[in-house]
Symmetry: C3
Subunit: 127 residues, 3 copies
Amino acid sequence: MGVLSIKTSRRVEIIDITGLVERSLEKDSDLAVIYSPHTTTAIVINEAESGLLEDILDFMERLVPYGKGYRHDRIDSNADAHLKASILGNSVVVPVENGKLMLGTWQRILFIEFDGPRSRRVIVKVV
Amino acid sequence: MGVLSIKTSRRVEIIDITGLVERSLEKDSDLAVIYSPHTTTAIVINEAESGLLEDILDFMERLVPYGKGYRHDRIDSNADAHLKASILGNSVVVPVENGKLMLGTWQRILFIEFDGPRSRRVIVKVV
Amino acid sequence: MGVLSIKTSRRVEIIDITGLVERSLEKDSDLAVIYSPHTTTAIVINEAESGLLEDILDFMERLVPYGKGYRHDRIDSNADAHLKASILGNSVVVPVENGKLMLGTWQRILFIEFDGPRSRRVIVKVV
């Protein structure tokens, strides 16, 4: 099992972690699970084109605007981040062959911060 | 493989099933898949703070309101529940080490009922 | 590992691939991962009732309308398809017992095209 350390530098941000994940793979595995142990981040597989990454953040902000009277905001003003994370999911699974992730041509593994900046971890588990 | 039995008591409801999942784990596994075999429920990993759980249900109801002229409602008046379930997903995957789920500090496994009350099952498969 | 070939015939379309997935399973596996290597398609498990399939496509189009000034559209006019795919996810995981998918009564594996028509592949990996 590998654990990636990620430092985010803004409240919301997308980081392409494909290279980090690839370096933590072991040979002879069939499947990689890339898992965020946090409740205000997401992991998504999609294209890492810079305009699209901004589109994703903009869309999620319009879908779940910050600070719109959520109950959880009385405790910790980040309910929007929990909701965004719940919609996108906190893990992805990728088939592995010969020690390589079977990603499609345009696919990258994207770590999405919704409540930064923070130090984050991502678990890479192969089976 | 374990099968959890869950009774829901309202139309929409979130139940923290983390304890039930933990009790059905076997030693020497690497990964747990928590899988709902239903089409109007979801499984999500997030924080189980009571205000946040209400925020999740409220948000999903605003996103996909009940009974808004969906085609499937002619057959079974629960199209909204199918749509909500499709957006959130019917399973989660959690890495396991030494017989323990590698959940982060605030993470809980949440079963979400969107068309209750009903008797539901959740499959816990370890590999 | 199996690779399914799928031809889509419209811009947006849902294809029930359950039968194709079942035919590519091997005995003695515990888990099937059904994985799309594309960035403008999704895989979802839900009911394949024809009205519901139209409801899913309609809902996703209202949620993320085509061509609404996304940055990625300057490069490739399919930002909406990437966003829809990101929300629904590009893979599902299904427990397997005795060579059979443990799908619930109403569950089908649905391949969703958001930027067709195209030739698509789906990877079926069992572990």
